[in-house]
Structures are given as C-alpha cells and as structure tokens.
Point group: C2
Chain length 349, copies 2
C-alpha cells in the first residue's frame, strides 16, 4: 500500500558536526549556555546541514491548498469558497504568508492539491489537483489509496524542487476551509485522545460549533474504527489532500537532508503522521511555534517537541513558521560571527 | 532629591490610533485574532507612535557598562576585569550584541558609565563615567546622590540621542560583572521578596555561589533597611551606574514618545524601578523575553508584563531584546501590507 519511495533512507544528523558546533559555542564570548535555545538551534542545524557553520539563507515556503468534504457538516465559520478565494489572494500577494515571505526573503509556492473549484492558471500557483476536494469522512474514506499516493507525491515533488533550488530550510503550510476538523480527527486517531480534548475553534468557531465539530469527529472515528490501524490507513480515512501532501513533503525533505521548520497545529499533525511512518524523520523537524488551537499541545507532546514561539497565533499558511525564521538566522549568525574568548583576549570564568 | 526632569510629563498612548489599528486588523484577510500577539503588537505600536501604520525601522540599542563594588564579596564567576575586556570586545564588534545589531540593522552605542578601569578612547564607545565602579553596598550606599543623578542623566542623554537620530524603538542593555547581584538586591527591595527567591546563577554561579549571593543581598538589605523607602533611595543604596542609567533612559524615552523594548532580568529591574518612579511609563515598555534567571519572572509579574519570547537566554547586553526585534517588524509589516477582505474579494465568516 505504501509508495516505495516513502521507505528510502533518511540520514541521521551528523553528530561530529554537532560536537564541533557545541565546542565552538563554548568558546564564544558569553557565559556558557547563555544564548539558551539559540545555541541549541545552531548546534542542531550544524548536525542537520552537516557543516560546522550552518546557514538559513534560502528558505522555501510551500503552501498546499485543498478542500474537505466534511465541510458539509457545518464545521467551519467560513464558506468553502474561501479556499479558492484565498488562493487568488496568495496569487496577488495579499495574504499573511505573502507578506511574511517577502519580509523574510523566502521563496513561496502555492500548490493546489484539490480545491473544490479549480482556480485555473494563476501566477505563483502550481496545479497538482488530486481531486475536487475530499469526500465527507463521516461516512466514507476521505480519499482513495490512489488519491493518497498522488497527494504524497505532490508533497515530495515540492521538497525536491526546494532541494534543486539550493534551499537550506523547508517550510510547509496549508490552506483549506474545514482542515482543522480533518487534522483533529487525524490527531485523535494517531494519539488515541478523545475528540473533545483535541478539537478547538479553528478559524473561529463558537462553543456550539466546537461541540458540533467534536460530534462530527466522533462519528468519523466510529465509521472508520476498523480502518485506523496504520498511519497510512488513518490518512486515507480522515486526511485532507494538503495534509497528506505535507506528510510527503516532510519525509522527502529529510531524505534529502533538508531541515524542516514545522508550522502550527495542522502541519504538526502531518508531522506526527510522518514520524509514525518514518521515525528517523524526527530530528529533521524544528518546531516553530505553539498555536492557540488547543489540540496543538497534545500533538507536540506526542512528539516531545518544544516549539520556539508561543504567540497565540492560529492562522495557518505557514505563518507561524515564517515568523520563527529570524530566530534561526540569528542563531546561525551569532554562531558564525561572535568572537571567541581567545580572539577577544577575555578572561575566562 | 529627585532631578526635576524625571517629573516631566509622559504622554499617554493614542487610544484613537489604537482603535484605528484594531479596526484595520479585523479587516485583514485572516480569521479575526489569528495573528495573536502580533496583532497586539501592531495595535500597541500604533498607539505609542501615534500613527495608524507603525514601523520599527530605526532601532537604537544602547549598552551601559559599569562595575560593582560588591564584586569583592565573590558573587561572580568572572573577574572584574571582564567588564573592560568586554567593552573592548564591543568596540571591535565581536560580542553577541554587535552581531545581533548588525543582523537586525540597529545602531549600537556602548556607554561607559563607570567601569573600574577607564578603557580610554575606543571606537563606538562613549565615556560618561560617573565613578570607577560603585561602592560595596554590603556596608555603604552603592553611590552618592550626585552619582545617581549623573547616571540617570547619562541614560536620559542616550534616549535623547536616539530621538534626535529619528529612531522609532529604543533598546537598553547592560554589561557589568556582578550586576545580577545589584539587580537582585534592587528587585528584593522593590518587590519585598526574599533574596533566595530572586537571586540566581547570573553568568554561571554554582549552587554554593548562589547561596553566597543570597547572603550578600541579605546583608545589604539589613544594612540599608532604613534607607529603602523610595525607588530613588533604593537605587542609591543598591544600584549600579548602568542600572540607574537604564532607569533614566527609559523614562526619558517615554517622555519623548519613543517606545522601549525591554531586555532581560537586569533591564526589567531598571524598568520596575522606573515604573515605580513614573507609573505612566508602563505602557511604553514592551517586554522582549523571559530570561533563564529565576528572579526575572518575579520582576515581570510585579509589572504584569507578558514577554514575547522564552528562549532560556541569560546573556544580557540587550541580546534578548535584539532577538525580538524581527517580531515587532513582522507585526508592523503584516499590519501594513496584508490585503483586506474587501480588497481581496473574500467572503467573511
């Protein structure tokens, strides 16, 4: 069932480079450990990029967009038409992720992996449409095995393009009305937590809306209870094309030594599914932020992930990851440019 | 006792501009509130800068350096010579704050307000020496009333220079071997917490060293117990010249409508003293990060401050504030550049 490329090897980070980087950190003109998580970041990136002085210069952001059959159940405050409207907004440069990508000088791709409405040819938009949205997973699998494979492949190709472009960091994002419901259902199936623990307001549901979302997820979990044994089964039953594409992108990035900065709740759910498929993926994932969506903490804990930022963001589109990019850059720049005690002639502790 | 300029008026942030900014945030193409603290930041900065589209382009960082008589009590793992050695490192561009200032394109000033050793004329260093270090505050006031006034004035002049240079954000930092002991003593006197709650490892004390630091602070609080009634008295008895300069800088910045991004433990202690002197200062302070130094949380809570970052940093030099600058910039850029629902033709919730 699983496409064979998913099993290709994922390298381990270089422990020798991490050791070199750790030694360098101890010689820089500051109290040992005083840069906190910025030191950890520089050391991790050295291991991932297999060089003593890592850089985060060329950042690739890919936003996958798709629609969800389950939106007929009334689990979003926004109409489904917003997915394609937002694709047009991405194309014109007006969305949050456009502004952020420009500000941090990252290259941005938007990939339509299956909106209900085909937006047609738009600048900056790639068409890799698997289908016109998923099926309503309350009563049937969200997608076919072929659909799953096509979405995984669309994600992997995005990672390949990033590698071909010489990028040193990959960020995946998502857009799709209803996709916090799919992500919450996946998280429940992957962590065995109850829907009321995971489901949250998403784009802005009121408490009644959240209760409705919980019921919808309960119904879906009941419907598919005998087909949720493997992460691939879970993704087929409850996924969205953009979430499955993210799974493919993350695994393919790590297979090619491209570190990944993970965005919020939905991308973290994709990361959890991907880590369940390929546990060697885990060290390649740097978690950018903890979202305001309550299920995010549960998903992060399932991976023992400690995100860098907690800013109460819950926008999606990779926006939280984009906001964390300057931290990674500053960590690398400090690591590279600070003077050592010997260079500065400073007395040690 | 208090210099008259300290009483000059501090304006209130513009509530009209904040309302305008809040309205704009609600029209941008994202779920309402989904940018979390980045929305708050844009709205606050609009009020502080009195313009609907705030900017953080010209950032001024000023690091005040001084020595502390109390270092004779053995409360730092580093020798006192490191203060002047670090001033030379600042001058040559090798310290963390030099790297960060270059990376975020901030202008950096280093002001010697009283190291034991006069570093002489060095590029990038301003000499505003109050004295060759403070007195050992275990047995006598750290400084004279004249010394206090001179240090406050050195800080205020730095804020004035930033305003004259057209800066839109002020960051104060500090360097001074022993200054977490002075800051902890000040925090105890200002918050009435016990030294063992506030004192921490600073630049890297072991548990025995921290115990020694607690004893030293207890001795100082006992010695000055009848001279700790006002913040000015507290600063005179237990301060450092760099901490007092920060107090002057923060008040003078707010008097001139220049928002302040507050660094870690030591700058936050200066901020607390400054807010006790001038409560109208509070809205002008944006707290950048929560340091690993345990007393920082107590000091932040005393101001009901919620810092932006928690990265386990404890380096000083304004480094934590510098790391937060990109967040402020991204908040402003999102606020300014995102499309509205109307501009993008997107359906509302």
């Amino acid at each position: 069932m699983m496409p064979s490329w998913l099993s290709e090897s994922i390298p381990a980070p270089s422990s020798a480079r991490m050791e070199e980087a750790r030694n360098r950190q101890e010689q820089l003109t500051k109290p040992r450990g005083s840069l906190g998580r910025l030191e950890e970041l520089a050391i991790r990136l050295a291991g991932l990029q297999d060089r003593p002085l890592p850089t985060v210069e060329r950042v690739r952001i890919v936003v996958f967009a798709a629609d969800h059959g389950v939106t007929v159940a009334g689990i979003s405050p926004y109409p489904q038409s917003v997915t394609v409207e937002m694709m047009r907004n991405f194309s014109r440069g007006g969305a949050a992720i456009n502004v952020l990508a420009r500000a941090i000088q990252a290259s941005l791709e938007v990939v339509d992996v299956g909106a209900v409405t085909d937006p047609g040819i738009l600048p900056g938009l790639l068409s890799r449409r698997v289908d016109a949205g998923t099926q309503d997973f309350r009563t049937q699998p969200a997608m076919t095995p072929e659909g799953l494979r096509a979405a995984l492949r669309a994600g992997a190709e995005a990672a390949q393009r990033a590698v071909a472009a010489g990028c040193d960091l990959f960020i995946g994002g998502e857009m799709g009305i209803g996709n916090t419901t799919s992500a919450a259902a996946l998280a429940c199936a992957l962590t065995h937590k109850a829907p009321f623990i995971i489901a949250g307001p998403g784009a802005g549901l009121d408490p009644q809306g959240v209760a409705r979302k919980v019921e919808v997820i309960e119904q879906a979990l009941m419907c598919h209870q005998h087909a949720l044994k493997t992460p691939i089964e879970i993704l087929t039953a409850l996924g969205g094309f953009e979430i499955v594409a993210l799974v493919g992108a993350l695994i393919a990035a790590a297979q090619r030594r491209l570190p990944v900065l993970v965005d919020g709740f939905i991308v973290s759910v994709a990361a959890l599914a991907a880590v369940r498929i390929r546990p060697e993926l885990a060290p390649w994932l740097i978690f950018a932020h903890e979202s305001a969506e309550p299920g995010h903490r549960v998903v992060l804990e399932a991976m023992q992930a400690a995100p860098l930022l907690q800013l109460g963001m819950r926008l999606g589109e990779a926006s939280g990851a984009a906001v964390a990019v300057p931290l990674l850059r500053l960590a690398c720049t400090l690591h590279r440019e600070m003077a050592t005690f010997a260079e500065a002639g400073i007395s040690g502790a």
